[in-house]
Each structure stands twice: as C-alpha cells, then as structure tokens.
C-alpha cells in the first residue's frame, strides 16, 4: 500500500521524466496516444473476452463513480483548506501561524491510512462516548458515514501538503511585489488577492496538478474504511469469483486510464496559464 510519505518522489519523477513533454512531438501527442491504447485495451478485453471482463467492468463501475466523487470532492476541499492554511503559514499573526504550523506538521507526520482509520473508527467512538457522558441522544446514536469520513480524512491530510505548496509559491515571489502593492495603499488582503496569489498560482500550478493525480491514486486507501470505491469493489468481486488476475488487471487499467487523463488535463491547464503570460 502506498504511503503518503514516499509517494511524493515517485509521482513527480514519473510524470516529469518518463513521459513525453508537450512540444516534443509536434502533431500527434504521445500522451493521448497512451490514453487511447489503454482505452482500446479495456474495450478489447471487454468485447473479446466478455467472460469475465465485461462482468468485472459492470461490477466495479459504481466503484468508479465513488472513486471520482471522493477524489473530486476531496480535492476541492483540499484546495480551499490548503489555500487558507497556506496563507496562515505566511501570516505575521503569531497565533494563526502557530496553530496552522502545528496542524501541518502533525498531519504530515501521520500516514494517510492511519488518519483515515482515526476518522472512521476513532472519531465516531469519541462522539458516542461524549454522547453517553453528556446524555445527548443524537451523539449516542452517531453513525459515521463512510464516504463523508473518507472525504474529511483525505482533505485534512492533503490540505496540509497543499498549504506547504501555497506557502512555497508565495515565498518564491520577490518581496518587492508585496512592497509595491502596499506602497500603493493596498491592504494586506488586497495585495494577496490581486498581486500575490495570481502570481503564486502560476508557479504552483504544476505542483497542484501532481497533488490531484496522487490524490486520485491515494483515494484507493478509502477502500479500507468501508467506502465502496473502485478498489473495494474489485476486492469484493475477487472474493466472490476467485479471479485475481483478471480482476486486478481490469482495476489497474481503469486507474491508469483515469490518472493518464487527469495528467493530460493538468498539462493543458499548465500550458494555458503559461501562454497567458
């Protein structure tokens, strides 16, 4: 199982080095070629060998939806929370800075899988115990929604990493930008909004894209906390049919297709922000 700590290097080098970059091939984009190959492979397997591949695809398709929902929702929350915490990390307010720094350091020191366990198993138990001591009915009967807990767990974990990306992006700008904005009478928030963040966004866009792809893959961890995502549906199928090779080939191909498409979209967005300049 992939842990949040080693994934950083693996994803980045995988994306940056091994796959062709935009502009290397003038007309046909090799990346889309790869997407098409994977897609064709899936279609071929499903049409030529419907037994069991078509069955597998049908069985896990609702898992694909769950994976996408968990990934996209978590990513949006990660962006919002990560931006706020990133601003906290560059704040001159000692209290805000301190609180956010502790959060970032703590969260980054605990594997994502353990965090998901905490949210799904420990957190509800705390609420129920609290309900018992306070004699508060809604807490006593609290039942954790697996998908919600998974989304909370991923977002809180990933936001800590995102905060560091945002902070690095802001700190990479020359101090003169903030000074010029302030010398024109802009308040700190105005300078952030109109001068600093739009520029930081351009530099951190590739890193955000990488985070998205890693999040998509790490979302498979939620299968352990009762979320019926693609991975969990694959495991369920395997345990009823005993077809490990076919099942995991199919699941792996679907993940690959999703990450390849995501990587492609990220690259397009990146180039768009570059062109504007």
């Amino acid at each position: 199982m992939q842990s949040k700590n080693i994934k950083k290097n693996t994803t980045n080098s995988w994306i940056d080095k091994n796959l062709p970059q935009v502009g290397e091939l003038s007309r046909i984009d090799a990346w889309w070629g790869l997407v098409i190959i994977v897609l064709l492979l899936i279609i071929l397997l499903v049409t030529l060998v419907p037994q069991p591949f078509s069955r597998i695809l049908n069985y896990v398709s609702d898992g694909v939806i769950i994976t996408l929902v968990v990934t996209l929702t978590s990513f949006i929350l990660t962006m919002i929370l990560g931006l706020l915490c990133g601003l906290g990390r560059v704040s001159k307010n000692k209290l805000i800075y301190g609180v956010v720094s502790v959060y970032v350091e703590v969260v980054r020191g605990i594997p994502l899988l353990v965090q998901l366990m905490v949210w799904y198993f420990a957190f509800p138990a705390i609420i129920i115990n609290l309900g018992k001591t306070l004699n508060y009915e809604p807490f006593e009967t609290y039942l954790a929604n697996p998908i919600m807990m998974a989304i909370i767990g991923i977002s809180i974990c990933y936001a800590a990493y995102m905060a560091e990306i945002v902070r690095a992006g802001i700190e990479a700008l020359p101090a003169g930008q903030m000074e010029a904005a302030r010398s024109l009478g802009m308040t700190q928030p105005q300078a952030m909004r109109y001068i600093i963040l739009p520029q930081a966004y351009r530099t951190i866009m590739p890193a955000i894209g990488n985070e998205f792809i890693t999040l998509l893959k790490d979302s498979s961890l939620v299968s352990v906390v009762a979320v019926a995502d693609l991975t969990r549906r694959g495991r369920e199928f395997m345990s009823t049919t005993f077809l490990p090779i076919e099942t995991w080939l199919m699941v792996a191909l679907i993940y690959l297709l999703m990450t390849l498409i995501a990587a492609r979209i990220v690259k397009l967005l990146e180039n768009k922000t570059k062109l504007e300049k």
Binding site: P174, A180, R182, I195
Partner: protein, 244 residues
C-alpha cells in the same frame, strides 16, 4: 515658515537587534521641495526612505507625513495613499498589463470607477511617454520603459509626495536620461520629492537640497547641488571622490 509636509524626528532603526541602520535622523521636508540623498552603500538611505511610508517600521522617534504619523498603525494606508514610491527594481506587477498596473490601485484603493481610472492611467502614460505600450506586459518593456510605467503607477494615486529609491541604478546608461527627464518634469510641476540617487545631473536640474548620509546619520546638507560642487565635510569629499 509653513508646516513641513514630512517631518522626520530623531529616528532610530535596528535590524535584528545588532545592526543600527538609522541613528537619530531628523529632517523636515517642505511642500514642493526636492530633496536628494546620497551616501555610501549601507549608510541607511533606503531604510530612511522606506521608513517614510512605513515599509520599514522605525524603532524610535517619529515621522509625520501630511498629518499622519507612521507610529499610528491604523492610519498607515491613509498615509501610503499620499506617498508614491518608485523602486530600484521597478516592481511592476508582471501578471498585469501596463494599463492594469496603473489602474488597479486606483480602483481598489481610491475606489475610482473604470472610466475615471482608465482616463487617469492613459493621461499618465502619455505624460511618461509610453501610451502605445498600454496593453503590453511589463516584461516586454525595456528597463527605462518599465521604470516610467512605475512612475505613472505611483502618480495615478495622486500622491502629495514621491519617494525614489535609486530609480536609475538598475538601468542601462542609455535609458537613464529618459527616466531622469520624467523626474525633472515632475519636480518642475511642484511635486514634493525625496530622491535617493547619485545622478549629479538630476541634482543640478532639480534638487533644492542635497543630503549626505553615512552610517545611519545625516553628515552634511547643502542647498541645490552645492553638496557636489562645494562639499564641506571630509566624509562628503571622500565619498564624492569615490563616485565621481
């Protein structure tokens, strides 16, 4: 005599507790005056200039700009609206066009409408001689053009005072003149200016007073360009012999 528009009173400034950048600087600047500050590297010229609009917070003393004290932190943005600043490195906003560079603060700080901000911006771009570059991005301009845009951007806020921190030091020699001309024009129109620069040409053309700073103190002060032509203090002579 009237009230000074900038009153600097016994200002001290430390960096990291051990570097004393300013050691008791006092200076009054009157409306319409052009003050030029020269001095060796590290003498505190930038620190003094940046203290005037509170980019550096002073540790002791007071600076009062048109009735606003830098020690009154609630008043800082009001103070900064009255003080335009031009930096050595231009510090234009690279993600905005030249026009937007000049319009943005007008809209969000001065709360001007789109039309008024646009007209002010175009008027100022004409004044600094580059209206045709309005839709270009800063990095597409030469250094001299960028610095003129930076001057227009500061002027767009209708400041009562303009501060210049070595505005021509980062420029290629052939571009220095075009920026100095804009500054001299501004001085002739009666703008109050505090200029850190070693350009003697500017002193001759526009300065009312020149000041030599060394190790955080004002060493000598002389009217017009007499500091260059007729220095009294040894340290001034020594410094001039090194730069001229």
């Amino acid at each position: 005599m009237e009230e000074p528009i900038i009153s600097i009173r016994d200002v001290h400034k430390y960096f990291r507790d051990d570097i004393q950048a300013l050691r008791g600087v006092s200076l009054d600047v009157y409306k319409g005056e052009v003050i030029m500050i020269i001095g060796p590297s590290g003498s505190g010229k930038s620190t003094l200039l940046r203290s005037i609009n509170n980019l550096e917070q002073i540790d002791f003393g007071d600076i009062i700009v048109d009735g606003h004290s830098v020690n009154n932190h609630k008043d800082i943005n009001a103070l900064r609206m009255e003080v335009g600043m031009v930096f050595q490195q231009f510090n234009l906003f690279p993600h905005l066009t030249v026009l937007d560079n000049v319009m943005l603060a007008q809209k969000i700080v001065r709360k001007r409408g789109e039309k008024e901000a646009y007209e002010t911006a175009m008027l100022l771009l004409e004044k600094v001689g580059i209206p045709e570059k309005a839709s270009a991005f800063p990095l597409q301009l030469s250094g001299g053009q960028q610095q003129r845009v930076a001057i227009a951007r500061a002027l767009a806020m209708n400041p009562k005072i303009m501060l210049f921190d070595e505005p021509t030091s980062a420029l290629d020699p052939e571009m220095i003149q075009e920026v100095l001309e804009v500054m001299i024009q501004l001085a002739k129109e009666g703008m109050t200016m505090v200029v850190v620069s070693h350009e003697m040409g500017f002193a001759r053309a526009a300065a009312n007073r020149c000041i030599l700073m060394d190790s955080g103190k004002i060493i000598e002060e002389a009217p017009n360009d007499e500091l260059f032509t007729n220095p009294k203090e040894e340290r001034t002579k020594l410094f001039l012999s090194r730069i001229l």
